[in-house]
Subunit: 324 residues, 2 copies
């Protein structure tokens, strides 16, 4: 039986993937340093005999190598995913993304594991002028340390595919939302509205255009791509897919969906400017024809995804106690 | 007077840059760990009161920060430049290129220095299908750890330009040759022919097409680009230039130039295949219209550059004693 290793297994996407793999009869080893991961997200998985949880950090290469023994495939999802605070902690993206990914690759090599799926980001396209942005858009200029670190990771993964005959799947995500979502604009907006229902502070001018993908659709896409095994026959053993919805919404649309679902009409206080923060990309919309051509499609619209996320947050307010 | 900090100051390109800057009346602090750098290359510079040499490693951030104090511009040239052996020492490119570059950026930030010139590589284009390759070629797939690490560096530099208002100049070099050249095919071929003039082993089938640039032309291009100050007005404070010759030659042409200059007719033993090594790019030829549009041009043809390099090696055989 296939045995899958997942870094960031207690995270938002990781824990959803764990559950899906277990439901599909796979054996799963979950790895997490519980820096942002939540044990609660694995409460179902932990009851499954096919699941093993190992607590550890990607920067601890010997422990990572030991934990990975006997696995066939690695989903490397652990990352510093907070795009906005790169400038406050410049070393964090380098260490937790680039160096950590190097360690994952080395642990795989030491164990003779060659199949890796990696969560990259649509942010790697910087402020591209080509929208929707295809995988082979013009070589972008990076504008955030987060994306810069992910580009470094992508490069190492594809080099391992070339040099060590790895089979790599790189997924460039738009923002993902849904059950177990623990950071992002829906999280922040709902938090604010819990504290003061009559007032909502918005970064930027609300005109930022963003695309979001429902986490279950994201997981489906990754599993589907690996099932197809496209990377096995790709020129360099690596296949890159954008993952995102078919359209985008304005931040103001999203506010409308959220406030509508909550029955609130807060006063909106915009920080102004067309960007939410330095390095923010005011328009993210990926061309997802490549993954769609494989037969994959989304099950929820962006609006449905946002409302589903909000409902989950309403039912799981404990998350606000653990994530400050 | 402008004070320039150069990492890799005792290296091939670095030491040539030191001499040019000193000749132009600049004050220069040279930084090198002498891992591959040669003190002999700085023998002229060390007689100049405008030059200060500090021995240190980019991985020692406190020392690097201290050494950089009072400088206005940083040329970050230190790197693990041996593209071919990435797979034997996978950590080396990550540490000596990506992590080292992060330290250079942090040392600059600590000192309030914002102008950086960086030696990247045409290898970042991987096996692009667009030849000659412009700076905005389709987002490439990396095929070597060396190039992957340089892509990571480029991303961090442009993120510092965006986030910390740095002024960055990224130069993607073809292979550079000329005086003080210490590794590459001319070095290897001449070494072989010194040992056995009748026989020459060639990696690949000799059909690999490569472009080379004379080191003085490379230095001129960098200084010219910084004088223009294009990055000051660029959208993200970063300007990227390809640096290369107007044409390319086959490895077989290069062998002909070298053997012709030496008056030798060795038997050629090809290892076969269209690549010299795993991750080698069999056709590197950069589109250099962008830098040419600024008025810069080469002073030597590729053939002249190769012969000049060979002459320097003939006059400096000591280099073969120090570089095994």
């Amino acid at each position: 039986m296939e045995k899958v290793f997942i870094t960031g297994a207690a995270g938002f996407i990781g824990s959803n993937l764990v559950d899906r793999l277990l439901a599909g009869g796979k054996s799963v080893v979950g790895w997490d340093n519980f820096c942002t991961g939540q044990k609660k997200f694995l409460s179902g998985a932990l009851k499954n005999p096919g699941f093993k949880l190992v607590e550890g950090d990607n920067l601890d290469l010997p422990a990572l190598t030991r934990a990975m023994a006997g696995c066939d495939t690695v989903f490397h999802l652990a990352a510093n995913a907070d795009v906005r605070f790169g400038l406050e902690h410049p070393a964090r993206d380098l260490q937790q993304n680039t160096v950590a990914t190097f360690n994952v690759l080395e642990a795989m090599r030491a164990n003779g594991i060659r199949r890796i799926a990696f969560s990259s980001t649509g942010s790697v396209y910087g402020e591209t002028q080509i929208i929707p942005t295809p995988e082979d858009a013009p070589f972008p200029v990076q504008t955030s340390l987060y994306a810069a670190s992910k580009v470094g990771c992508e490069g190492m993964i594809s080099s391992y595919c070339e040099g060590f005959q790895f089979e790599g799947y790189i997924f460039r995500f738009v923002s993902i939302l849904g059950e177990r979502y623990t950071h992002g604009h829906v999280f922040d907006f709902y938090k604010q509205l819990l504290e003061h229902p009559g007032r909502l502070k918005v970064l930027g001018d609300g005109s930022q255009r963003k695309s979001y993908l429902y986490v279950q659709d994201c997981v489906t896409a990754m599993l589907h791509a690996l099932d197809l095994g496209t990377a096995k026959t790709a020129k360099h053993g690596v296949t890159i897919y954008n993952l995102g919805a078919e359209n985008y919404v304005l931040v103001n649309d999203s506010i409308r969906f959220i406030c509508g679902a909550l029955g609130l009409q807060p006063e909106l206080e915009y920080s102004g400017g067309n960007k939410g923060w330095v390095g923010d990309n005011p328009f993210i919309f990926l061309d997802t024809q490549k993954i769609r051509a494989t037969g994959w499609k989304t099950s929820l619209t962006i609006e449905q995804g946002i409302v589903r996320t909000l409902q989950w947050l309403q039912q799981n307010r404990w998350i606000y106690e653990t994530r400050q």
